[in-house]
C-alpha cells in the first residue's frame, strides 16, 4: 500500500507540473489569441485603405 508520504510526494510533484504547464499553456493561448486579433485588425485596415 502506498504510504501517505509517497502520496504527498506525488501530490506535490503534480502541483509543480500542473502549475508550470498551466502557465505555459496559458501564455501560448494568449499569444495565439493576440496574434489572431492583430492579423484580423491589420486585414481590416488594409481592406479599409483599399
Amino acid at each position: 500500500m502506498m504510504s501517505d508520504s509517497w502520496m504527498a510526494l506525488y501530490v506535490a510533484y503534480s502541483i509543480v507540473w500542473l502549475g508550470l504547464f498551466s502557465f505555459l499553456g496559458y501564455m501560448y493561448l494568449r499569444q495565439r489569441r493576440i496574434d489572431k486579433d492583430i492579423k484580423m485588425l491589420k486585414e481590416e485596415v488594409s481592406r479599409h485603405d483599399k
Partner: protein, 376 residues
C-alpha cells in the same frame, strides 16, 4: 529578431524541461533521504555552545538507563520528543509499548525551565518509563535546534547524564540519526520554486527602478511580466510546502511560523501588484505607480528569505539547508538541488522572454485599436 527570440525561447524551454525531468529522476532515485540529528552530542555542543536549548517538541518521556542494573549499557538518559498535540497519543503508545510505530508531530520550542510532574507509565529491569506532563526544562544555556520528523526512525535525544537517581544535563551520550520521510523529496522542487520567485521579484525591482529612471516602457514590461511569473513560482512554493509540512510536522500550516507567514505576505503583496495594475487604465500612470509599488514590495523578499535566519525573527521551524552553517546536504542531494535550481532559472528566463513578447504584442494590438478608433 522576433523569430530569433522565439527560437531562443523554444531552445531554453527544451533545456529546462530536460533539466526538470532530470531533477525528478535524481530526486526520486538518486538523492538519499537526509538524516536529521547528529552522531554525537559533542558535535552539537561545539556548534551551539553558549546559546539556549531549543528542543523539537516537548520531552515526553525519559528513558533512564540505570548503570547499576545494566553495567554494560552507556550511562545516559534519552528523551523522546513529540508535540504537545500528540501528548495523549504518545501516552497511549507508551503504555502499549508501541512507541516506534507511531508518527509524531514535532516542532521546535524554546525550553526555559524544567518542571516535573512525571507519571510512571511502566517499568523494566533497566529502563524506567517516565512521561512528563509538561515541557519546560532548563539546560544550562545550551541550544540545539535539531528537529525530529514524524517518520523518523529514531525519536530520541541523549542529552543528559545520570547522576544518582536524578539526572543532570550535559553533553554526553549519542544523538540518534533520524531519516526524513519520503515527502522530503518535495524539497527538490519546492526550494527551486522559491528561488525562482525571489529571482522574478528581483527582476521586477530592477525593471521598476530602470523604468522610473529612464521612463522607457520596455522596463515596465519586463517588471510586470516578471512579477506575474514570480507569482506562479510563489504559488507553487507555498502549495508544495504545506504538503511536505503535513508529513514532517503533522500540520499543513502554522501561523506562528515566521517563514511561512512572511512568504504568504510576499505572495499577497505581489497579487496586490497585479491588482493595482489592473485597476489603473492610463498606461503612463499605471507604469509609474506600479514601478513605485514594485520597488517597495521587494522588501518582502528579504523578509521571507531571512525570516528563518536572522535572530530577531527566528521563530521558524522551516529547514535552512542553503547558506547556513547548520544546513548540510549529501553530495548527491547537492547535485540534484543544483540541477533543479539551474532548471528553474532557465525556465524563468524562458517564461520571461515569452511573457515580454506577449506584452509587446498586447501593446501592438492596443495601438492598432487606437489607430482604427482615431481614423473612424
Amino acid at each position: 529578431m522576433m523569430m530569433n527570440r522565439r527560437k531562443l525561447g523554444t531552445i531554453l524551454l527544451v533545456i529546462s524541461a530536460v533539466l526538470i525531468l532530470m531533477t525528478a529522476y535524481l530526486a526520486i532515485f538518486f538523492a538519499p533521504l537526509p538524516q536529521t540529528g547528529v552522531k554525537s552530542a559533542g558535535e552539537v555542543m561545539s556548534s551551539v555552545e553558549g546559546s539556549k536549548l531549543q528542543v523539537a517538541g516537548f520531552v515526553s518521556a525519559v528513558y533512564h538507563r540505570n548503570p547499576n542494573r545494566a553495567p554494560d549499557m552507556p550511562e545516559h538518559v534519552v528523551f523522546s520528543i513529540a508535540d504537545f498535540r500528540d501528548y495523549m497519543r504518545y501516552v497511549q503508545a507508551a503504555e502499549a509499548n508501541h512507541l516506534n510505530q507511531q508518527w509524531w508531530t514535532v516542532r521546535p520550542i524554546d525550553v526555559d525551565s524544567y518542571f516535573g510532574g512525571y507519571v510512571v507509565a511502566g517499568t523494566s529491569p533497566d529502563i524506567g518509563w517516565r512521561i512528563t506532563a509538561g515541557t519546560n526544562l532548563s539546560v544550562n544555556g545550551i541550544v540545539t535546534s535539531q528537529e525530529i520528523g514524524p517518520n523518523s526512525n529514531v525519536t530520541g535525544f541523549s542529552l543528559a547524564r545520570v547522576s544518582g537517581d536524578d539526572f543532570a544535563f550535559g553533553p554526553v551520550g549519542s544523538f540518534g540519526l533520524m531519516t526524513a520521510p519520503v515527502a522530503q523529496k518535495i524539497f527538490y522542487f519546492h526550494m527551486p520554486s522559491a528561488w525562482a520567485c525571489y529571482l522574478s521579484f528581483g527582476v521586477t525591482l530592477v525593471g521598476s527602478a530602470l523604468f522610473l529612471k529612464t521612463r522607457n516602457h520596455k522596463y515596465d514590461r519586463v517588471a510586470y511580466s516578471s512579477a506575474e511569473i514570480g507569482i506562479v513560482f510563489a504559488t507553487i512554493a507555498i502549495t508544495t510546502g504545506p504538503v511536505w509540512a503535513k508529513q514532517e510536522w503533522g500540520v499543513y500550516w502554522r501561523w506562528d511560523d515566521m517563514k511561512l507567514v512572511t512568504t504568504f505576505v510576499l505572495w499577497l503583496v505581489y497579487i496586490g501588484y497585479l491588482s493595482l495594475r489592473a485597476a489603473i487604465s492610463e498606461p503612463s500612470t499605471k507604469a509609474r505607480v506600479s514601478a513605485v509599488y514594485g520597488i517597495l514590495s521587494f522588501i518582502t523578499v528579504p523578509m521571507s528569505f531571512l525570516s528563518s535566519r536572522v535572530a530577531p525573527l527566528l521563530q521558524s521551524s522551516h529547514p535552512q539547508v542553503i547558506a547556513t552553517s547548520s544546513g548540510s546536504l549529501s553530495p548527491q542531494a547537492g547535485m540534484t538541488i543544483g540541477i533543479a535550481v539551474i532548471a528553474f532559472t532557465v525556465l524563468f528566463i524562458t517564461m520571461l522572454i515569452k511573457r515580454v513578447e506577449i506584452a509587446e504584442s498586447e501593446e501592438e494590438l492596443e495601438e492598432l485599436k487606437r489607430n482604427i478608433g482615431e481614423e473612424e
